[in-house]
Symmetry: C2
Subunit: 245 residues, 2 copies
């Protein structure tokens, strides 16, 4: 994401910190507040503390006490776990509409920091929990999101345990393409990759070198073209067959 875009995002988000900021939120339909009706919606809106983060800012970490939950509005957040010796596993990338705070029994369980500049709706964990307890539709929504996350996590287990490097990369690209499509409303052959090679590696259980080599081999094989901060898909059928092979 370039500086102009980043600045625009931050400005727009601050600009809408007025009474009715959520009304025109393009992320709303995708997010946890999507199914709420007028009164309830306003009630949740009152709990919202909009926040912005520059790139590489920490939202929270494994150990920190759980004070807030978030809905991402703009930007990309990486969620990861660290082993004592420094090895890192990224358990997911949060995109606009994603909710952070589903599994917070004791501690967040993972670290979260921004890959790009990020704007988010922040809620006090306790206030949000109270609200959810008083609104079954919200509880239901949270449960649906949790089970969806669970299904994604199981897919990721298959990927990590039983697929080779090329399949991992192909699958990663296709999944990301579809997630962006859901957010923007249109499929693009250019897939934005705001995260670095090391992040992709730590998500797929590979090293940075293997990610780089595999992407460049795919480019050599005319499956895709590597562009700044992303790739452009040339041979979608072949990529998809690798992804689901």
């Amino acid at each position: 994401m370039d500086q102009t875009t980043t600045a625009a995002i931050l400005r727009d988000h601050v600009a809408c910190e007025c009474a009715d900021m959520c009304r025109h939120c393009e992320t709303r339909a995708l997010s946890v507040c999507g199914p709420l009706e007028s009164d309830d919606f306003l009630g949740l809106q009152r709990l919202n503390h909009p926040v912005t983060f520059p790139a590489r800012a920490v939202l929270f970490n494994q150990e920190s006490p759980v004070r807030h939950v978030f809905t991402i509005v703009h930007g990309v957040v990486r969620l990861y776990k660290l082993l004592p010796d420094g090895r890192r596993q990224i358990v997911g990338f949060a995109l606009p509409g994603d909710f952070l705070g589903l599994a917070l029994a004791d501690g967040y369980g993972f670290c979260a920091d921004s890959v790009t500049a990020v704007s988010a709706c922040r809620f006090s964990r306790d206030h949000f929990a109270d609200f959810a307890d008083r609104h079954p539709a919200m509880l239901r929504r949270l449960h649906d999101m949790a089970t969806h996350e669970l299904a994604l996590a199981q897919q990721q287990m298959v990927l990590l345990g039983r697929r080779d490097a090329e399949e991992k990369i192909a699958s990663f690209l296709i999944v990301l393409q579809k997630r962006w499509a859901r957010i923007t409303g249109k499929i693009s052959v250019t897939i934005d990759l705001p995260m670095g090679r090391q992040d992709i590696a730590d998500f797929l259980g590979l090293t940075i070198e293997t990610v780089s080599r595999t992407l460049n081999r795919m480019a050599r094989d005319r499956l895709l073209v590597i562009v700044p901060d992303g790739v452009r898909v040339l041979d979608a059928p072949r990529l998809e067959s690798l992804a689901s092979a």
Copy 2:
């Protein structure tokens, strides 16, 4: 699990198929019905269709329409996904108290079959969903279980993506030991492994040979002793440090 035990389980379970079968259920506190009070509890009990399966029976598979949800009462079930070419990833082992049917938006998403003889509470998916919708405590419980599953899934991602064979095996054993401890109420240095080596391999993202070699090397190193259908832990501290390394 030997034949005598298996027979006993099946007999006991059938024997309690009377009006008040759930009252003395030793699995109840761990399971989805744990938090229900008298009236609600009886209501759910009326929906229950107790079922038993011999070892290696199919409970459901990836494609089958979702008709039922289950709570496991006795025995062990493996949950797995298959790739088109036959590669398999086991996404979890369901033990007594575990609930099958959290993530069933479209299709179960995975296959489930019994490793040992199994007895379970079976509910119609629709009846169960209706019941949950009318009982917020149940909805809450389902959500808690879903987020717990999600946390486990994220741990498994770390294991699959960033740990070597020895760490995987050690972690698997320790986690299983703790799960059995929660179910039986006491920690045992003998860890029951009702699943075969191939199942362990498909759970940990290894081959059967690597599982066998690693277990036997651990035995040679006096970390544990291999016994029929399980292992006995000799050096718990060293095993635990491998598991969390």
